[in-house]
Amino acid sequence: MIKTDALIIGAGPVGLFTAHQLKLIGLDCEIVDNLDKIGGQCIELYPDKPIYDIPAVPECTGEELTNNLINQLKPFDIKFHLGERVDEVKKDEKNWIVKTNNGKSFSTPNVIIAGGVGSFEPRKFPPKECEKFENKSLFYSVKDKKIFEGKTVTIFGGGDSALDWAVELSKVSKVNLVHRRDEFRGAQATLNKVKELTSDGKINLFTKYQLVSVNGSNKIENIDIKSDDGETKNLKTDYVLGFFGLIMQLGPIANWGLNIDKKTIAVDTEKFETNQKGIYAVGDICTYPGKLRLILSGFHEGALAARACFKLARPNEKYRFEFTTTSSNLLKRLGKKE
């Protein structure tokens, strides 16, 4: 059991700056994120897109913003738990007990949800029967590529993941690559390789086709794909892989007893606390009258939530407001003063 003053769920920009605020006022915190990297939507959805409305930063990309926020955290020692999803939040006598899908547990008086629009999950195939085969003969990521050796694998998608795996698996498997249109989003070099492998007969390419059904009893035996013109093809395949990017799902947060409306959590505007004492929500995931879904609003929300955390983490101390320009306490924490 890891004990901490505050646990932040979500390592996006707002989660990162909230961590900064907590450390600055002398609290410790740990951060959990379902993604395997820091940055949240900024990194996953728009690393290269410029953002123009961060105060005092005329222009920066999602990746630059994330790197700057990480740099700002350098004076502090913050433990990140990446690639882990928070599954359970329960109250014991005093603290919140938070459990992740990897079996880690935390005990903390304060939980700050900076979860964006939920956790990123792979986007799945539309046909219902796909669920039955999921993680058996149908996958949305590759964990052990050995299982595909000598088998027929049908890969769906038009981005880098789909193209990379088509190239990689074509060395040891019979590969079908299916995409809904002629153009691919992946890197040109990989695309050239795919085309070369296609003309060599190593990859069977089907463009303007989509999956309509998956057939088999315990494992997939064959699938049907349909073209834009309505033509259906049946492909024999042992495995199906889908790479349609990631989507955001509220996920387990929905079960924590919070006031949730349209994927957002209602909070007050003093502490950004939810209807549960000691659970706060900041950034895109929170809602209140006048809420703006801007990164700058999230920074403000995190700063106030951090102050609220102080009361529960240090019930016997009084929080005193200080400026970083003048406070020797703060400068010490920032490593600027002995």
């Binding site: 959805l45 897109k49 629009v117 998608g157 981005g159 809904r180 249109r181 989507i247 955001m248």
Partner: protein, 106 residues
């Protein structure tokens, strides 16, 4: 004000007036029309405001910008008449537009 008709998956049709300059996505969100999630808030960074546009209308709409088609790759059941409703700006020319909302967005 231009009227936009949203038809949900279960064939419920709702026609609402949407101000010029708003997007078809915003028209849906502001009028509580279910089935358009718009997770990214209109940044063309997700595909949860995906709609199907009836063919006669589809060809009248401004062409897709770079990136919209890429994003549609990630939509739930994209078709040839798929668009992201956050990329459709309402104007007098769009008065009477009919869009169909997919059975789900994710």
């Amino acid at each position: 004000m231009p009227k936009i008709t949203y038809i949900t998956h279960d064939n419920q049709s709702r026609t609402v007036e949407v101000q010029n300059g708003l997007t078809v996505m915003e028209g849906a969100v502001q009028n509580d029309i279910p089935g358009i999630d718009a997770d990214c808030g209109g940044g063309m960074a997700c595909a949860t405001c995906h709609v199907y546009v009836k063919e006669d209308w589809f060809n009248k709409l401004p062409k897709k910008e770079d990136g919209e088609e890429d994003m549609l790759d990630m939509a739930f059941e994209p078709k040839t008449n798929s668009r992201l409703s956050c990329q459709l700006t309402v104007s007098d020319e769009l008065d009477g537009l009919i869009v169909n909302i997919p059975s789900k967005q994710t």
